[in-house]
Subunit: 341 residues, 4 copies
């Protein structure tokens, strides 16, 4: 860490800071500039943070020089993490497309969806049984019945299932039926839930909160990794900005940034980020071209009858076109879509 | 609701929409413009949302004309809600200042804080025992011990306590000791927690998520009100923007906006929003001048020894100056600080 | 337009509104809902805006149903605009890559840059002679000398030149030497400059302001089109958001959105948006995959000696790799890079 | 400045950096941490920036330790700047309220407005003759005729006038008639205009761009100060955020932040920031309570007939109430509204 003193910090404030650091076992480098005195502190960051140096008299700012996360960092683990979902892989040169309706609505709907996305080449079935909704008056999902329907669709098509866990009371039920446990964007910093889900022994898909900086997101992943569960998939789904033409702003640059900072696989959910089906196809192609390890896409057999998020769902026909694009783009990137181990 | 058709929507698409609406029991008004056909729909908004009209063929956009929340709305309840905390009131012409350290750190620290803020005129003691922290390596609070220390400080000073509930497993413990249950900004859309906390039978302080629009925030309050708990206090604490000089951007205009839209009391937490103690005093004054019903302020007997959020904590001396300003500004507004019923 | 009345709007307010509209020659459709009265207004939007309906007593909101721009709209001109730059084309199935240093620094630097980007397959040379800089103490460009060096580099390599115009006093000089006139992001709403540059009779590259919504950007283009200059290229270069890992957030979804709303060609400048050379290559690929008609990329023969924006410049070697990716991705999209007419 | 090397930076990269710095006349402090090598550089910041250190091999980041602006800084000039407008003062303990219509529309309208705001206690008349408008189809102002009407209104009431300058060609006309020259938010980084307006020899009111960080805004002021014109008034008018209930988000915390960083007076324009007249009164009170040196408020004799920005204009009656609040709040702050020297 680097401690920058105020312009008018007194000598006794600098001395007192140095004493504290040395007494706490840190190395210290002092540098007096024309305008400011700067103190370099050598030692472990997390231990240093406990000293709350930025609250001391005479201190202007404290600047970290290393990343605040560890287990999620490429420095800690240079090689790509490959997450295994039944006989499918995601990460390194394996691309996985997860598709299906926003919410499970009925037996017919989820079965039709599962067959359609399987047919088009998707590797995993998505669908919500427990739906967090902004309004308490919106459809909240079929809950237990939805989970059972997902399992039936999975049995029939052979597709593994990814679905959201909303709280600890329903975690056992969801974990029993699902292959990948999704932490929704609104729960990205529900730290109690992160730890509990980590311990369910299944891969976790961690959606980015619409107001999370990349560093905050990686620290949320760190909560899961710290429990000993290394099977974490990061999912970019748009951030909140002033632009209102799309629902959120898809931050696609986060993909190569994450591939650089972390070893974890990164997928993109263009459907929720954009909110309009018309732009899903080009942005799916762009996501793979940017280096994403997979996609999470909403597909509905009849989008105009969907109980939630209809306008952002693709028809099965449109989804087929997306899969063709994705397969060709993956080839350019020397990657394989839906490889079976 | 108003449905705006695409410019090239066909007659059969308009007819099919109208049939659906009429069959579902809604009134319909058709209006053909030079460029677009517009369909006005008359009936209850929440029931209309289930039709997912914006996903239908030929539909460009669906525009709501009424608010999506009900119980939180001033239309539903025109007069100000006054929340009672022991013998104190907040709302209408009653201003309440809640102050104390970010986290309970030790018996000495919380007792010294409680005495200091009581002495300066605060009505409620704040302090975190369960601390949600961005990094899993940061100090997470004294937990149960922290709750017991808060209760001791409360007993000694007579101050009621507001503290954060992080999850359902610790809710009973927190609800036993606290007078006001705080939902933190990261949990504003943890809908399971909202419902559970609502049912604990205590007033709830609901912090705004840093990426919540005002409407989303009021819908989160609606989750609590819907459980039959009308004792909700809204707390503005800054939103995420591009400006990085302050930690977040305090959206003070939200105060008069909320006083217009809802009957619930609104308080402001300048400490977390701004992150620098130097600007807390003028912004506390401004919050009251904008119409806030109270403040949530961090005070620490020794800010430079704080285990969390040191730089944003006021010393007891600075907090006294804030209380003097607040009292005078409240007087200008014909309000009373810390009135006892 | 649709006028939504207040919930407590009186009959006389509705009547007065309707009279005004009818007297002004607009068609009117009245719709009384359970909660609100809604008035549909039929006629030309721009004429309607002059009535300032949203300022009238009893009016809650006024919602436009059509786009506020005309000449820029695909409704007005359905087929893609192809902009011609000497013997090169951009738009429809023609991709154009413009590359070179942020600023012209010396004869050696701009000639080396021009040769390098020409050699790698770029179609246009970019380089700033007049540099708008956040700080008055930063390097402001070589000005007239820079323009002459650009022309020399253009003569030697045969590459057309795109460069920024900062004000009307230097417009004649810049227009004499440049093939494409760039309006910088900070000047996107400098409406006087937009009109003047439009009249210089050259293609205009209009950068998006970092705080411009897509609609505001298209209205800025409309200022140029309105002067009779239809040769406008839109350039996405990142918007301001809370995420600080990258300089700005590249809004790549704007590409398919614009291809849908407007007939104008759209290019992407990943260098300025991201600010770190490491992520330019994947995001260039992604931009083309999203449907962009071209790229604006910073290349410097020696990035670590650049006088401005060094960290975001590619070396000639890295730029060659970008061109290979772009060419292959363009092929997938059935487009051609740098086609000569 | 502080240079943080990459984790895997080689010894020769560090040595080469140090040689460069020493050869360029800078002092150097080397600090080797557990994870990183950090180089402190001592010397003048602006000269250092020209070395583009962050583009060098082995360098991860460069962190400035001092402010990039000089003349605008309180370090450079500790005492408050007081700007004189005819016999009125703004700054230190002098509060100045500028009010009037968004645009000059007619002789009757501007005279009625001037009388109304004078009568209520405003010190300066505002009104636009040249109107920058997002759409080329919106009303663009009465131009020269508007300037003459402003002068007539000024003569009749004795109020000085503040009005916007849009470009250099109309600057002489505007400077002849106006007492304060306003740089609009869209032109905050129109650096050519900043310098030209600075040289007109009148006080300049510099509006914040809706996407300008505080530091960027102060650097824009620096462009004016550098020309030798120290009579600069900063005007906060809202920033772009995801919140759409208000037009922009008024960043009131910028007021105490600026009063800390700079000696220049700071005023607040709640009308443009918020866009709804209903919230202007509480936010005007809050602005003064936060420490603002003045206000810029839209008042229109008949807001529902305004040609632009009607919904955000106050009636003369509402403005009187604002002035009463402001006067009382100013008194609490030991300041005077509209003092005459």
């Amino acid at each position: 860490m680097i401690v920058i003193m105020n312009q008018n910090a007194g000598q006794e404030q600098v001395d007192s800071l140095i004493s504290l650091l040395q007494d706490s076992g840190f190395g210290v480098h002092l540098s007096r500039g024309v305008e400011r005195t700067v103190v370099g502190v050598i030692g472990e960051r997390t231990r240093m943070e406990k000293l709350a140096l930025d609250a001391r008299a005479g201190v202007d700012r404290v600047l970290p020089v290393s990343e605040p996360y560890k287990l999620a960092s490429r420095t800690f683990k240079p090689e790509d993490t490959v997450v295994q979902v039944r006989d499918l892989k995601i990460g390194r040169d394996n691309i996985l497309v997860m598709a299906g309706p926003c919410a499970v609505e009925s037996r017919e709907q989820i079965l039709a969806s599962a067959r359609a996305v399987k047919n088009a080449g998707a590797g995993v079935l998505r669908g919500g049984a427990f739906k967090p909704r902004t309004s308490p008056y919106s459809f909240q999902g079929l809950k237990q019945e939805g989970m059972e329907l997902l399992e039936e669709a999975s049995r029939e098509t052979g597709l593994p299932v990814v679905t959201e866990v909303m709280d600890s009371s329903t975690l056992p039920l969801v974990a029993r039926h699902a292959d990948i446990l999704q932490i929704g964007a609104r729960n990205m910093q529900n730290f109690s839930l992160l730890s509990e889900v980590a311990n369910a022994g299944k891969p976790v898909l961690l959606k980015r909160s619409p107001c999370a900086a990349i560093e905050e997101w990686l620290l949320a992943a760190e909560y899961i990794l710290k429990e000993g569960n290394g099977q974490v998939i990061l999912c970019e789904r748009g951030i909140k900005t002033f632009e209102k033409f799309t629902r959120n702003t898809l931050d696609l640059t986060a993909v190569p940034v994450l591939k650089h900072l972390t070893h974890l696989p990164v997928v993109v959910d263009p459907s929720h980020a954009i909110g309009k089906w018309r732009y899903i196809r080009p942005m799916s192609r762009a996501a793979i071209a940017a280096g994403a390890d997979g996609l999470l896409i909403e597909v509905h057999p009849e989008p105009d009858k969907a109980l939630s998020d209809g306008p952002q769902s693709l028809t099965p026909e449109n989804f087929q076109a997306v899969m063709q694009d994705v397969t060709r783009t993956a080839l350019d990137m020397h990657k394989v879509v839906g490889s079976v181990s």
